[in-house]
């Protein structure tokens, strides 16, 4: 019997997810022994035409990381979907939008304006911008088009499973590969990580007081962080209560608060709203003016609570007033 065929692809991402595959270390040898990797642009010399030549569903599974913004990414997502039996959204960007998803805080126009004209280091006197089609004497040049919004993978093509994290923890990747090979995958649509909050597996769980009451929010650079004590109790914005576990509390062990990359547990529709809810409720003040003063320490609520999930959120992005001609 031939080995199952596996593909990897990246869309709007940083390469960290590819790094996570390499982080499998010796375990990657077991994976390579068990499967045939037939497409992986970052590491192996296969081309898009090789995938196009495959039968539909020829790949057993394809791991796609990165958010979706360009027309090329849409085409590739559709191609990978067609050629694979299981499509897995790999990492925060494919799962919920991730860091590139924060572009939905801005309009497409303001992004292009900033990148091609605004930044101080740019000299673009001809005000040139990339265009999908450009005529030069040698012929026509084409570029992928740039969509109005960032989307998640499952807002682009149907997705079978999710491997969350920025990047997904090695333990979860190994578990997923094992489940695929042994045919023990859970029902479609499942996030392949434990369905409990990070606080539950936090090594500092014992130091969390019975009732968390915070008088002052602080940022990591403002204090000497106690390496034993609950980070929320120290006034740091730790997203542990709202975030799915599965990372073995990697950031906490590095003495940094959780930023929420694994996303919410099952049944939560909007991660940011839930994280906001848990942070606001531990504030120890009943006075409206004082509450406002204390909340000022959270300088960027949007970026804090939707760091990895703006495209997947209920609002999907900011309202674009200028694009509808004023309010």
């Amino acid at each position: 019997m031939s080995k199952p065929r596996v593909g990897f692809y990246w869309c709007a991402s940083c390469g960290g997810c590819e790094e996570a595959v390499v982080d499998l270390a010796e375990a990657v040898l077991d994976v390579v022994a068990a499967v045939d990797i037939v497409f992986w642009p970052v590491a192996l010399d296969f081309k898009r035409s090789d995938v196009e030549a495959m039968r539909d569903g020829e790949m057993a599974v394809c791991f796609v990381n990165g958010a979706i913004r360009t027309s090329e990414q849409v085409e590739m997502a559709e191609l990978m979907r067609r050629k694979s039996q299981f499509l897995i959204a790999f990492g925060s960007c494919a799962h919920s939008g991730g860091i590139p998803g924060m572009a939905n805080f801005f309009s497409k126009e303001s992004i292009l304006q900033e990148v091609y004209h605004g930044v101080p280091s740019i000299a673009n006197t001809d005000t040139v911008r990339p265009r999908p089609e450009t005529k030069v004497t040698e012929g026509q040049l084409t570029l992928p088009s740039f969509a109005d919004h960032v989307r998640t993978l499952d807002q682009t093509v149907p997705v079978d499973y999710y491997l969350p994290g920025c990047p997904p923890p090695v333990k979860l990747i190994v578990g997923a590969v094992k489940a695929i090979l042994e045919g023990t995958l859970p029902p479609k649509g499942t996030v392949l990580a434990p369905n409990i909050a990070l606080c539950d597996e936090c090594p500092r769980k014992e130091s969390k007081p019975d009732e968390l009451l915070i008088r002052e929010f602080k940022r990591p650079h403002q204090i000497q962080i106690d390496p034993q004590k609950c980070l929320l109790d120290q006034g740091l914005l730790c997203m542990g209560p709202a975030t799915r576990s599965g990372c073995d509390a990697a950031c906490i062990n590095g003495n940094m608060p959780c930023t929420g990359c694994l996303g919410p547990t099952d049944g939560i529709r909007d991660y940011g709203a839930k994280a906001l809810s848990s942070i606001a409720s531990v504030l120890n003040s009943d006075d409206e003016k004082e509450i406002d003063t204390l909340l000022k320490a959270i300088v960027d609520p949007g970026g804090t609570f939707y760091r990895y999930s703006l495209p997947a959120s209920l609002l999907h992005g900011t309202i674009l007033h200028e694009e509808r001609g004023g309010k």
Partner: protein
Amino acid sequence: MSDMYDSGTNGRFEPRIVAFFCNWCTYTAADLAGTSRMMYEHNARVVRLMCSGRLDPQFVLHAFREGADAVLIGGCHPGDCHYQSGNYKALRRFRLLQRLLEQMGIEKERLRLEWISASEGDKVRQVMNEMTEQVRQFGPLRLRPMPNAPHSEPVADLELAVAAVEQGMS
């Protein structure tokens, strides 16, 4: 129902407001306004919660996504919460949520919190009227369109469907 969508007939925008009222104070006040035959703007749909502290910020965002132009939260006055501190929790979430909404380009007045006790039926009338008028000035809330998940059926546009039926009847 149809008079809620009469923006086409008299040219006036009728905002849709979702109101979350706590069982012990504001909902009872709305009941009182009703039994007292008070007349006020009919733009709000009231959802009864046991406590304003039950209000998950997801409810607010979900209401906006499903077509609400504004959301009103009604709870017991400070010190009067049936469950001691639910209204204070609601207040903290509300203040942070308002800041988030502003960042998302949504006028913060589209989310309003009012303390209305069981005997303040007239305050319900007044707040409903004020808020309806204010949101009418803002105009409809136009969120970024949600990309359709490819595996879910596209949701039929209720307003268009209602308008088509009404046109057929006239």
